[in-house]
Amino acid sequence: MLRVELATQLRRVRSLILLGVLAGIPVLAGVTEASKAGGRGGAATFSALNFAESGLNFMDPVLFGLIIAVFGSILGGADRDWGTLRYLYVRPVSRRRLMAGKWWALVICSALAIATFLVVTLLTGVAVFGWHPFHRGGTGDMSPATATWAILGAGGYLTICLLSIGSIALALGLLLPRSVEALGISVAFVVGSALLDNVPSLHAIIVILPVHYWLRWTQLFDGGGGGLVAGLVAQLATVVVVLTAAYAILSRRDPAA
């Protein structure tokens, strides 16, 4: 089913546009920075590695969240939107296989989104700012090799983080009548979580929201990273709870409903 999902979804104009946006943002930012009259400014301009780190900061959490919400909701709801779900069931494809195929397709979409962004960001950064040590202001520079591992670590961490929102969108896509409804709720969840994250008095609520942990990858550039484990646990717990609930609801629901 994974092959079917990928063949079905990755050739969609919508998917190609999303990947194009991910590739276009760093190119646009790099070109804008390079064409500035009177010199460049900001930490992002010290090297390709700084440019990549700044790019991740810019995209996380809302823009990455929106993009993976689109992938998740179309993966979950496209079969229903097209009416092909009934023909998958009679092939026959069980709900378990269907959900597994969609989940692994989501993992690949999440990794592809982050990889596309990072590869284009680094290439643009090298072309515009060059390959230099990662500048950290007062704490001394980080070697290119160490910073590259930190970027890769951040990319891996964000890929897993995106799976939590992706899973919510996927589950809603499976359960709601139309994928656009799943997309709307998922986007509202991402934006709402990001806003709530700035309200300290709501700490008790914030800590159970997966988006709260999404910026912890920055610890990798400060020589730390201990907080990432809690972040990973929060993401994986969200994925397990959401997908288990979706499967349980689907199993009890009449397929024709």
Binding site: A7, T8, R11, W82, R91, S94, P255
Partner: protein, 304 residues
Amino acid sequence: MASTAAVAAQRLTKSYGRHRAIEGVTFEVERGQICGLLGPNGAGKTTTMRVLVGLSRPDDGTARLLGEPSRLAAAVLARAGVAIDGPAFVPHLSGQRNLELAWMAGGRRWPPPALEESLELAGLGRSLGAKVKSYSMGMRQRLMLAQAFMGAPEVLILDEPANGLDPGEVRTLREHLRSFADRGGAVLISSHLLAEIELLATHCVVLNAGAVVAAGKLEDLLGTGSYEFEVDDVALAVAALRAMPGVRSVEARGLRLSVTAPQRTVKELNQALVTAGVGVGAVRATQSLEEAFLGMVGQNDAAR
């Protein structure tokens, strides 16, 4: 004992909220049979088919295909060809790619065993490589039929398969279905095209308001009510039949009599003619499926 028929519906009951879609629907389709599932809109045809292929869970009763219980994604469905609720495809992919993905979704390697035959039925030619979103209704319908046929199924469940097809395509479909049944396949087909079912089906199940109102061989269902007799003495025959209780009308055309007598068997009518001294050359039922259908479901229901 569990039925071993190719298609078996046993006391199927299904409600959607307060609306009871079907109730106690029971019938069987054996191998080699083409069974028409008929009924006015809302009679429960599609619900029955959905339950039979596991797309709807019955509140009561059991559905079996090829002797095995049929439920959502049951393994036995791999031996069935299904077209239900109209064609549905991934619009941005070609017809060919849609068939490939539909086949591989079942965990099988491309190509399917009856691909050539099914593509011949679809008759899409070069259009098979075009995106489905550019297809006409008829092309989508033919692609759906190819999808149902390509796995060399043992049983076909087809909901309104002739929708959107032109007369030539309907004829090709009819020939394919006959050939399929002749090779031992079983077909359950729903259609509003009663004349088409009359030409095609060996058996019929008629649903009305969610219940089976008639089921059996097509010739038995047609043979209730209208007959044509070839006689040697028209005047005597007309007088004898008109004198008989339960005979609604007798019309003479040459040596042929058209008789409508829903409450009389052909044997009784023949006996009356022979007793009156009329020589009977030939007898045949002349009721069309449409007339029989309207009689079974009630003209008001059918006209709604």
